[in-house]
């Protein structure tokens, strides 16, 4: 990636982070996922705050290292990467662009405001990412990664992952 030499360092850092794929869903960048919470350039040092999706997400440590390495490689010496827990990550922070990328990848994106609905345990109409049918059912609330559930489309009969609401 080539940058104009006098580009705003914070904007340049955002671009670097936008190029880091999520280790488990590489179609999304960590920025699409909404786990980069803050980025601050004080004129000398860059500070980045990231938040884990799930408490036990095995990718969290890898993401932390990838952020450090990518920033160091781009010349941000001694960038401070910290983890923030509060406010807790929610699927509502996945960008609109990220939702579209998920759909094209074959994963049904979480419905907006779904965290609240998950709270009350009401059933969601999850659209099949392939044929957009609403006639789908949940096979398991847990899937191949902590953030996904397994669904099945009753029209095109394909199984698919649903990015579960949190």
């Amino acid at each position: 990636m080539t940058m104009p030499p006098q580009a705003d360092p914070a904007a340049r850092a955002w671009q670097i982070l936008e190029a880091i794929p999520d280790p488990e869903i590489p179609v999304l960048s960590i920025v699409d996922l909404g786990i980069v919470r803050e980025l601050h350039w004080d004129g000398r040092q860059l500070q980045v705050a990231i938040t884990p999706t799930y408490s036990g997400c095995p990718a969290a440590e890898l993401i932390h290292k990838q952020v450090e390495h990518a920033l160091a490689a781009a010349g941000f010496d001694g960038a401070l990467v910290s983890e923030v827990l509060s406010p807790a990550w929610t699927t509502d922070w996945i960008s609109e662009e990220g939702r579209e990328k998920l759909r094209q990848y074959g994963i049904a994106p979480p419905e907006l405001g779904s965290g609240r609905r998950a709270l009350f345990g009401s059933e969601l109409a999850v659209h099949c990412p392939r044929c957009a049918s609403q006639r789908t059912n949940c096979v398991s609330e847990f899937g191949s990664t902590p953030c996904k559930a397994q669904y099945r489309c009753l029209d095109c009969l394909e199984p698919f992952d649903y990015f579960k609401c949190l």
């Binding site: 884990p52 799930y54 408490s55 036990g56 997400c57 095995p58 923030v84 827990l85 509060s86 406010p87 807790a88 990550w89 965290g115 998950a118 709270l119 345990g121 096979v139 398991s140 609330e141 847990f142 899937g143 191949s144 902590p146 397994q150 579960k164 949190l166």
Partner: protein, 255 residues
């Protein structure tokens, strides 16, 4: 608001962290032999959530203690009597009905506990709780659905679920025990009034058992106690032997 003693906060965090760690280790024992693939993933995912929450709690506990210990040292280099989890979570997996009843009892409790802890005066604990409560909601719902499915299933599945509830019920009282430490933490605005949780925990249990057509256990049943004070059943030692073997045999081993 009263000032909280650091030793109190350390012990309080340790209790929360130990409970998740031991239950997470128990659930991970299902990996490779769950009744079906979807359930295998569910059990592994729940174990991962629990261990992840415990890592945060134990890291913070180590920081509060200020003696240079790490989360790994707390998890891997303490012995049975130093663990402060309630007895329920160390009970063996038994059959699938046992594991689901245990999971429901604990997750439904933890969901309520961490919901309150989100508003703790300790902001780090509040942050950990805000993540954990969302995860426990899934665990409680998942395990609750299995209790209904098994209770309202075949004669065999129903018998097994009844047996699981009978055997595990005497371990549920300890979840709501309130000791001096709990009282001090409540006074400091950090902890939770466990008595308040019990009512809604019991209501949700009655709803699940009602749907499952299962008999309701008696509120005044005799209850086991002692886990939080380090008096454990013989099962915990075996669990720790498996969990702690590697870092004890190879103390320099790292990830």
């Amino acid at each position: 608001m009263a000032v909280c003693d650091q030793q109190d906060l350390f012990t309080y965090l340790l209790r929360l962290g130990d409970s998740g760690l031991v239950l997470g280790q128990r659930l991970s024992e299902w990996v490779g032999k769950a009744p079906m693939l979807e359930e295998e993933m569910a059990l592994a995912n729940m174990a991962l959530d629990l261990v992840g929450q415990s890592r945060m709690l134990l890291s913070y506990a180590a920081l509060v203690e200020g003696k240079g210990r790490t989360e790994d040292q707390l998890a891997m280099h303490r012995d049975v009597h130093e663990f402060t989890n309630p007895l329920l979570v160390e009970q063996p997996n038994g059959d699938f009905a046992h594991s689901m009843a245990r999971q429901y009892f604990y997750a439904s409790f933890a969901e309520r506990l961490f919901d309150k802890l989100q508003h703790s005066a300790d902001t780090q604990l509040a942050g950990i709780a805000a993540k954990a409560v969302k995860e426990f909601r899934y665990h409680a719902r998942h395990a609750g659905l299995w209790m209904v499915r098994l209770g309202d299933g075949t004669e065999e599945s129903r018998d097994r679920m009844i047996r699981a509830i009978q055997e595990l019920w005497p371990y549920t009282g300890e979840l709501f025990e309130t000791d001096e430490l709990d009282r001090r933490m409540l006074e400091a605005g950090i902890g939770v009034d466990l008595h308040v949780l019990r009512k809604s925990w019991r209501e949700d249990l009655d709803r699940v058992l009602g749907e499952a057509g299962l008999p309701l256990p008696a509120d005044d049943a005799w209850m086991h106690s002692g886990g939080r004070a380090g008096r454990h059943s013989e099962h915990l030692g075996h669990l720790l032997a498996t969990m702690q073997f590697l870092p004890r045999a190879y103390p320099d081993a790292g990830w």
